[in-house]
Structure formats: C-alpha cells, structure tokens
C-alpha cells in the first residue's frame, strides 16, 4: 500500500454474498454510490467503468486487479469526467470482506495511490457512500445525501 492512503472499516448486518453483489452490480451501486452504475465482466485485467445513471455518461474507468468472491475485490479507477484530471494516475481501491459474527460482516476499504490534493475530496466521498451502502443493505433503502 502506498501513502497517502485512506482506510475505512465498517460493520454491516448482511452476508458476504449480499455485500459482494452490492459492490459488483451496477443495479446496486447506483442506489448508494451517488447514482453511479458500475460495469465490468469482472475478469482480472478487464475494464471497470462507472456511469452516471442520470445521463449514462462515463464518469470513471479502471481495471480489475483482484476478483476473489466473496472476499477480496480490487480495481483501479480514474476520473474521466473532469478535463483537468484526465491525465491523473489511476487510484486503487481494495475491498476486503470478512464475517465478523453470525449476521455481521466487516468491510474494509483501502483507497491508495491517491494524489495528496484529492485526499480531502475523497474523504467527503467515502463517508456517504459507505453510510448509504450500510443503510441500503440493512434496511433496503438509502439515505438522501447530497454532496
């Protein structure tokens, strides 16, 4: 892991399989990830793309690094939406899922290879994404959070 890195650990009342589906299926991500739909065939080396579900525009793209269902998922991604960030090096995100009780799953999200000037922005991004994900898996609906 390279610095600077961001680490988020959250405990969710769900199963590893449900959480895995929520992370890898666009129909789920658009419900908790600021309306972004994730798409990939999830083979290592294949592209990963995020689309804005409002207008179907490509917002981020990267590559599958690890796909070990339902334990470890890693991919790179970079912003395709903002002109000034087209040439940025891609960041990397690694999701690790572990059972933490009969009905509880521990999710660890490590986001590294981040430009130092984008740490603050991502700090504001991961909070709502993970809070929404947890609420969605535990209650079936998401919070209304505006950025």
């Amino acid at each position: 892991m390279n610095n600077p890195a961001m680490v988020h650990v959250t405990y969710i009342e769900t199963t590893p399989e449900k959480l895995w589906a929520a992370l890898t299926s666009g129909a789920f991500t658009k419900l908790y990830w600021f309306g972004r739909r994730i798409e990939s065939d999830w083979k290592v080396g294949s592209p990963v793309r995020f689309y804005d579900s409002a207008d179907d525009s490509l917002t981020d793209s990267g590559e599958v690094l690890v796909y070990d269902e339902p334990k470890t998922l890693a991919y790179t991604f970079k912003n395709e939406f903002l002109e000034e960030r087209r040439d940025d090096e891609p960041g990397r995100v690694t999701f690790t899922i572990e059972p933490a009780g009969p009905k509880v799953v521990k999710l660890q999200v490590v986001h590294d290879r981040i430009d130092a000037d984008q740490v603050e922005g991502w700090r504001n991004g991961w909070g709502p994404i993970l809070a929404n994900l947890k609420t969605y898996l535990e209650t079936g609906h998401t919070l209304q959070i505006d950025l």
Partner: protein, 104 residues
C-alpha cells in the same frame, strides 16, 4: 458507541487522530515523535483505546505496523444526530469559519 465517546474524551487521543488525519499510515515511533509531550507508553495506551473504538485501524507491512484513521464511527455518530439539511448548513458554516480564519 460508548467506546467512541470515551476514546474521543481525551486531548491526547484527539491529537493522535489529528496527526493521522494529517498524515495517514504512521508507525508508533513516528507518532511518538509527533506527540513528543507524551511518553511512548502513553501513546501505546491511547492507540489501543482508539483501536478498540474502531477509530484507528492498523496494518502490518514487513516489520512495521502502520496506524490509519478510520472515520466511519464518527460519521455514524454524525448520521445519527445531524439531519442532512443541518449538515449542509454546518458545512457552509465551517467553510465560512475556515475562510475567515485564513484571512485574519
């Protein structure tokens, strides 16, 4: 949640969180250097409490153990007591405060 409040109820522990917010992924020695007014034993004890509360996450790489800030428990407290509408207002207020402080 009790553990989170207990962990936050100490200036030294809050300072440790500030140090990790500034630079995430530090070793015990690095944190001791940064908080020179605390003993190594004190820092170790504080880190253990922060870890128990889920506010600090550690990862091992080679011989070293690195400490990372985990903001999720604090976010959960915020979600519980601050409505989204108020959160926007608070964000505007803290932006205003930062801007004013920068000016002076």
């Amino acid at each position: 949640m009790d553990l989170v409040f207990k962990a936050l109820a100490d200036a030294g522990r809050r300072q440790l969180l500030d140090a990790l917010r500034e630079r995430n992924g530090q070793t015990l020695s690095e944190l001791c250097d940064e908080l020179s007014e605390l003993t190594r034993q004190g820092v170790t004890k504080h880190l253990r409490l922060l870890e128990e509360a889920g506010l600090v996450v550690t990862m091992r790489r080679g011989r070293h153990k690195y400490h990372y800030l985990n903001p999720v428990p604090i976010n959960e407290i915020a979600e519980r007591w601050i409505s989204n509408y108020e959160k926007d207002k608070l964000r505007a207020l803290s932006a205003l405060k930062a801007a004013l402080e920068e000016e002076s």
